[in-house]
Every structure is written in C-alpha cells, then in structure tokens.
Symmetry: C2
Subunit: 337 residues, 2 copies
C-alpha cells in the first residue's frame, strides 16, 4: 500500500485515535529521562513542579503555550572558565585577522592578545573588551559571521580539557532541556552572550532553534549589494542582555513571562526574580559551581559568573540551588569523538 493509499484509507477513521494516543501522558518516561541527576532536592523540585503544571487535573495546570522555560547559557548550559568561550573566539579571531591588520602588533589591546597575554589585553576594562569585540564581531554580514563561528567551533579546543567547546556542555542540563520539551515546554536561551554567536549551533547542541535564543547584540544595517541584500554587522552596541536587561530581552522577544528560569550567576538574578514574581506556579533554580574536581569551584569572589546575592536570597525566594558536586552524577556530555 502506498503512503497515499494508506492515508486515504485510514485518516478519517483513525485520526481521533491518533490524537488520543498522542495525548497520553509520558510522566514515567519523562522522569526517567534525567539519569545524570542524583535523586536529591533539585531534581525532586523540578519533577514535582513539572508534574503539577502538566497535570490537567491540578489546580496549578499551565496550558502548553504558557510553558516557557528560560536558561542562561554561560555557566548554566555550558562552562564559562577560565573565560567566557566567546572571549576565546575573540582572541582566536584577532590572531587569525592579524596578518591583514599589521598595525595591531603595536597597538593595545591587540598587541597583548597577539602575545597571548589575555589578562593584559583585558586590563583596559570595558573599553578594551569592546574594541576587541567590535574588531571581530562587526564589519561583515550576518551570514559571514555565522560561518566564522561554525568554523571556529569546529577547530578550537578548550585550553584545559582539550575538548571542543560544544563538548563543554552539561549533560544534566541537556537531559533537563529534553525532559521539559517532552513535557510541553518551550526552552529559550536568555544569555549575556551574543545572540548571533549562539544561534548557529544552539539547535544542534541544545535542541534550541534560533528564534528561541535571546542575547546581547550589535546593530545591523540592511544593504543591497550586487550579489543581493545582506545584513551588515556594525560596530555599535544594540542591547546588553544581562542583569536587568534579561527581563527586558525576555519581554521584547517572547512577550510572555516565563514560568521557569535557570541561571548560575548574579547576572541572572533579575531574570529569576521577574520569572518567579509572576502569578501562578513559578520555578527558579541557580546552579552553584561547587565541583573543583570535575569542573571549577567558584562563586562570590569569581571574576566570571559571580554568584553572591543569589546564594544569599535563594532560600527566602524559594529558588532551588544545584550543587554540581552533590546533585549531578556527571558534568559534561560525552565527547563527540
């Protein structure tokens, strides 16, 4: 029987059954799907919340379109030490572009980068960082930039682990993303990182499509060239999606308040605050980097991913806190090869 014949014969008769079968709850299958989580508090809190909001008989039931979960990226979905991975992209690109920019050899902050002195390069503060970022993120089309990010991820390796950066993602969080999606959630990234830096790979790595990525951005300008129209990336900041910018970015992109939020630093504080202040069932979770053996241990005094206020207020605010050392069986996803 051809597909077409099958369809003609069965659709009208079986469609109601088909819809009923697909409506069956997947509870047990779902909860089993987070094998890298220890059966401790955070996992229990997540499963309890998800079961409440997905059970049509529960007073806390939330219809699917409102099941929105937002995730910070750096330090929440993938690692962020010794520096944000996007900074490693910047440094590598400066090196790659140096032959075409001979003046950089004698000009800070480029000269320090080319000597491998990354700390020195960043000693100029925000201004240096912006100069490096714009030299590597602007002056090309959106498509050219995306291709350059993909190329870099293919060749670059983490300085400590030798892994690809996309292999520095947290296995328990991959399982959580899949569990939430199987429970009718849409999963969004809301990151201080560059929106266009993330979009080329979030779908294959996290299962999060480009339209569900919110991040910082620079301006773009529409230009019609001989080969057709392009969006040129300009060396001007458009939006910083961090701290109090996260609720702003969420509102701008999603236009709904999420019901779950996951972060790891005080840069995520307002996102969790905004999410959990809404009416109805709400869930906030902070990941505490406690595992100096398998990953990195840092919080209040870290130069990156600083977590202080969040730790102080989590209990009062009803936010769960994951201790990576205690709550996760494994940290990183298996290496690809």
């Amino acid at each position: 029987m051809t597909m077409r014949a099958f369809c003609l014969r069965t659709r009208s008769a079986l469609l109601p059954v088909a819809l009923l079968v697909l409506a069956c709850p997947l509870d047990s299958a779902r909860a089993d799907s987070m094998p890298s989580w220890n059966d401790t508090g955070p996992r229990k809190a997540i499963v309890d919340f998800v079961e409440r909001v997905t059970d049509p008989g529960s007073p806390d039931f939330v219809p699917e379109p409102e099941r929105i979960a937002v995730f910070d990226n750096d330090g929440t979905l993938w690692a962020e030490q010794p520096v944000y991975f996007q900074a490693m992209y910047v440094f590598d690109r400066i090196e790659a572009l140096a032959p075409k920019n001979p003046g950089w050899q004698d000009r800070e902050p480029f000269a320090s980068v080319l000597k491998g002195d990354y700390a020195g390069a960043l000693s100029g503060g925000t201004r240096s960082l912006l100069e490096l970022a714009m030299a590597t993120h602007a002056g090309m089309s959106t498509e050219e930039f995306a291709a350059s990010v993909v190329d870099w991820l293919e060749s670059a390796r983490h300085p400590d682990t030798g892994r690809r950066y996309t292999e520095m993602v947290y296995q328990p969080m991959l399982e959580l993303l899949a569990y939430l999606r199987a429970s009718g959630f849409r999963t969004y990234i809301v990151s201080g990182g560059g929106i266009e830096f993330m979009r080329p790979w979030t779908e294959s790595v996290y299962g999060i499509p480009p339209e569900q990525v919110v991040g910082s951005s620079i301006d773009t300008r529409y230009e019609v060239r001989e080969g057709g129209p392009v969006l040129m990336r300009l060396p001007e900041l458009n939006f910083i999606d961090d701290k109090e910018g996260k609720p702003v970015g969420i509102n701008q992109h999603i236009g709904r308040r999420p019901i779950m939020a996951f972060g790891n630093s005080d840069g995520d504080f307002e996102m969790l605050e905004w999410t959990t202040a809404g009416e109805g069932p709400r869930f906030g979770l902070l990941i505490h980097h406690t595992d100096g053996e398998r990953e990195w241990a840092y919080d209040r005094d870290s130069h990156i991913g600083r977590l202080d206020r969040g730790l102080k207020e989590a209990a009062d605010r009803g936010w769960a806190v994951v201790s990576m050392a205690d709550d996760w069986k494994v940290i990183f996803a298996p290496a690809e090869r």
Copy 2:
C-alpha cells in the same frame, strides 16, 4: 476504560500508526480552506507554492522549522484607513487622559486632538506624532499598557464602518494564515506598528502568539516596586520596524530568513526583497487596495500605505499582486455581534 488505562494499553502498539496518520498530507482539505479567495492568479500561486514546499517528494521541499511566513499588519491583515488604527488609539487616549493633563488644552499637538482636528495635530510632522505617541504609550508598565489596549479595542469603533477594529481584519487573510499553519508554517507579524500594541490581541484575532509578533518598540526599564518587579515603558524610541528595519527586525527576532512574505506598501519592500532573495523556493505577495466600494482604493499617492515601487517592480521580481476588487470574494471577517 479510563484515559490512563487506554493509554497504557494502546500507546506502544498504536504510536507508530498515530504518527503515520498525522503525517498524512492534508492537501485537499487545506486548499479548500480559502473559500474567500477567487480562483485567480494569487490564490493559485499560493497553493502551488505551498504544495511544492510541503511535498516530501518535491525538489523544493522545505522542512517545517524553515517554513516561516511573515505578514505586515496595517493594510495587509487589517485595514489602515482613514489612519492607522494605532493612531486612533492615540487620539482616544489623549481624550481620556486630558482631565489629568489640563495643560493639554492650550498646547499643541494636544489641543488640536482635543478639538477633534487630527489633521491639524499631525501637521507638525514626526515630532508631533512622537509627542502624542509617547504621551500615550510611555509612563506605565507593560501590563498596564496591554490592559489599556484591550479596553480600547473593546469600546472603540471604526469611524466609517462602526465596526470594532478587530472586525476590520481581512477574511481572506485569516483563511490564508490558517491554511499556512495547517501546512506546517509558522506565521509571524512584522509590522511598523507597536509590538506591544499588537501582542495583546493577535493571538485571539489572527492565531498569532505574542512571541511571533515583531514590531516597533520603545525602551523599557526593569524596576522593582513594592508590589513586585515591573517593566516600565519609557518615552524613548528603541526600534522602528519599517522599510529597511523589517529585515533587521526579522533577523533579530527570528534569526532565520522567511520563505514567504506578505505586504501591501513600499514599507514592506525590503521585507519582500530580503525574503525572496534567499536560496531555494521563495514567495512574495503584495496586496493592492483596489476596492473603493468594499474597502478603500489607494496606492501611489496615498498618505498612508503608499505603494509605488512595489507595483513597478513586482512582475520583474516574481512577486504576486492581489487586487482586492478582483481576487477576494469578501473583504472583512463577519462582525462579532
């Protein structure tokens, strides 16, 4: 048999069948679902395109995640005469807010609005328009603004037809939106209108959820008040989603290039150009307001929804053009009551 018992008994056995049934093409049901379109060129072009990109055996097949269709709003999904409906909201709000702003009686452009002289109020150009817009769109939280838009839509009536503004939507376009969604498309609004002005009602009126609305915006600021955090609307323009801003807004929000674009004015030109310049199958359509009897007839010389370059270049660029008088059996959706 309870739902749970049904599920346990049938899921594993019937799931493959269920998925197969749901994968059946809906071609005939779909094409029949645009009854308000005459069987003329534009309808044929739409159906032909959709059948090509949804047929897994076609060389032009497009996977569902890439099936993105973008629609202008004013003049494309609902009417825009005698002025953009959002301007009517502004005028009505100025009147409602006047008692609390006694100074407006003697101050332009407010004084003219309060006398009902809308043309006079707008004679100051962009500056007057911005002043009126900011006085009515800023200085409140996002939730307060949304509530005010919903209230207004409930009470306001179109000055010529006496209909609610949400009854001034085009029935053929509602059918087209539904047809595309039934064909695995996601439908987005990409409008010069305010993003927060549209989001409170696009889901109930068009079936387009808030996260699929792209529009112009003002800045917002996160503020923690006694009652909880809010996003305050500030009297500063953030983004103008018109002309060359439309591809920029599409990239910022969606991060993918659409494969279908629908507009009605030269403000949509770049959106159609950007969409149809992509690789693979692409579709652009302009709606030409040719029906002075059932709607309004205007194009090159209109102060609103001006369509000149689009008409000149549509044929060369392979864009379809709908003549509302010739291609649509009915214009407006039935009144609600």
